[in-house]
């Protein structure tokens, strides 16, 4: 690793805790952000010369705080900036500060930061944008590209979110036990939304690294909520799904279905982590939607070959998920397992009642087409695939359906000829 990548990694890792601490100090998101930026610039200058500090986060907080105080003072009285040496000599201050910031203090700061980004008054889109900007430190341009909007529009979205928070009278004291319990679900949901934004993009585009960002957030949440099985489940779910990323697209960028994937391409280390996390979570015997979805992902991960997949168990898990979180999309997923277990007719019967609610949903029409094709009902299958193509969200999705259609047409030609 070169020096600059090491420093960049250290700055990224320190970011949530440092911004959280600076926010506690200045009680203003913009000031905290600017202070952190200042500290990072100084780190890039100072660390290559003097070596990394013992505690990078404490260093960044102290330097950022001093820099911001200078800025405030300068704006106030037009005072001269003190020499760099005066604030970069942190030998005395660093150790006690590091002691003080260790453990629970950091934890509360990061929690507060996450809670602020997931403020209930903000719509989901603003929560995600704000968290990616403030907690993950992505640039406005990166976030704008990820969400396929212009930089100006994203800038405006983030500014609006900040303004709302400023008006909303956000409490800056340490979040209490009740608040933690109530709001960790919102933070978890935001994290999973970030992951799904990246997952649905699927390719090497600007959105794909959102998955890694979400996993980083989940690991952070795990440290904050060490005994919360749903957070373990969330982290497990995301690492298990992300483990399959290298096999999800072929060389031409087209979607490879789970059963056709080269399982040797799956990331064994991420799978091991996911399995360990879901094991930990299940021990608590407090099931929740993330744990169930992670358990399903774990069953796929445990099958060395598609034929070894425990579809009966997956069906049972989806049934449990349906009870916990009834949704036509869950039923649709369950139907895939049912199709494997009891054939396409049973699966089709299961999804038919969903049509009124899912008739505009790409995956519904894709699955319906596939079940119909398996049953030899070709004309109906084609109609479903045609509708699906019109609803595809990405070129890869459209190409996948096109292959289904081509196969149907080939088979029809063969039977006719």
């Amino acid at each position: 690793m070169t020096e600059i990548t090491w420093i960049k990694a250290a700055l990224t890792a320190a970011r949530p805790r440092a911004i959280g601490a600076l926010l506690r100090y200045f009680r203003d998101l913009d000031t905290a952000e600017e202070a952190f930026q200042d500290a990072c610039l100084r780190a890039l200058k100072s660390w290559p010369q003097n070596g990394p500090p013992r505690d990078a986060t404490a260093w960044l907080i102290l330097v950022g705080r001093n820099a911001a105080l200078d800025g405030l003072r300068r704006r106030g009285k037009q005072d001269a900036l003190p020499p760099d040496e005066a604030i970069s000599d942190l030998d005395d201050a660093e150790a006690p500060l590091a002691e003080r910031l260790d453990g629970s203090h950091y934890r509360d700061d990061v929690l507060r930061l996450l809670f602020i980004c997931c403020h209930p008054e903000l719509p989901n889109t603003q929560q995600i944008a704000l968290a990616l900007r403030i907690v993950s430190g992505l640039s406005v341009r990166q976030i704008a590209r990820a969400f396929l909007v212009s930089e100006a529009a994203m800038e405006q979205r983030i500014t609006r979110a900040k303004a709302r928070i400023a008006q909303a009278d956000v409490p800056f004291e340490t979040p209490g036990a009740v608040e933690r319990a109530e709001r960790f679900a919102a933070v978890a949901a935001m994290t999973y939304l970030v992951f799904n934004e990246g997952y649905s993009a699927g390719d090497g585009s600007a959105r794909a690294h959102l998955c890694e960002e979400a996993i980083r957030l989940a690991r952070l949440l795990l440290r904050l909520f060490q005994t919360e099985p749903e957070i373990m489940g969330l982290a497990a779910l995301m690492v298990l799904q992300h483990a399959r990323a290298p096999a999800r697209l072929d060389a031409a960028g087209e979607i490879v279905l789970l059963e056709d994937q080269d399982r040797r391409l799956w990331d064994g280390k991420l799978i091991a982590e996911g399995l360990a996390l879901i094991d930990k979570a299940m021990r608590h015997r407090r099931p929740g939607p993330y744990q169930i979805q992670a358990a399903i992902a774990a069953l796929h991960a445990r099958a060395a070959r598609p034929e070894e997949t425990d579809w009966a168990q997956i069906d049972a898990l989806y049934a449990a998920l349906e009870r916990l979180q009834p949704s036509p999309v869950v039923t649709l997923n369950r139907a895939v397992a049912v199709g494997k277990l009891r054939g396409p007719a049973a699966a089709l019967e299961m999804i038919e009642p969903l049509a009124p609610r899912l008739s505009g949903y790409f995956h519904f029409l894709g699955a319906k087409g596939a079940f119909l094709a398996q049953l030899g009902r070709k004309r109906e299958a084609r109609a479903a695939f045609d509708q699906a193509i019109a609803l595809a969200n990405t070129p890869a999705e459209a190409a996948h359906i096109r292959r289904h259609l081509d196969r149907l047409i080939r088979e029809s030609a063969r039977t006719a000829g």
Binding site: M1, W6, D55, G103, R219, L222, R223, Q226, T227, M232, A235, K269, A272, E273, A276, L277, K280, R283
Partner: protein, 101 residues
């Protein structure tokens, strides 16, 4: 990783490399505390520290100097962090193979 493999191969060829392992991150850790009866199982690592144990190597060497030489080679191949060198007090080899009937 490739550079680390070179060092490990060299150690293997010289017959000095014993078992070595890499641990998953501490977010996967569960801790059993035996300070009470029955012991308490808690989520998370034994101690929350900035430095974490990532894994270990067992090497068969004549003394500290040689162990440090190996640690230097490993460190050069995989910068960052630290290698703590400690003598093994008791060494039980893997007994699974001989556990059969």
């Amino acid at each position: 990783m490739a550079r680390l493999g070179v060092v490990q191969d060299r150690l293997t060829k010289s017959g000095k490399l014993g078992p070595s392992l890499r641990l998953l991150p501490t977010t996967s850790a569960t801790t059993l505390r035996k300070t009470q009866d029955p012991p308490l199982v808690i989520d998370g690592p034994f101690a929350e520290t900035k430095e974490q144990l990532l894994g270990f190597y067992v090497v068969d060497v004549a003394g500290l100097d040689e162990a440090l030489d190996i640690a230097r080679e490993l460190a050069a191949a995989n910068p960052g962090g630290a290698y703590e060198v400690r003598p093994v007090a008791l060494y039980n080899p893997d007994r699974r193979a001989s556990a059969g009937p």
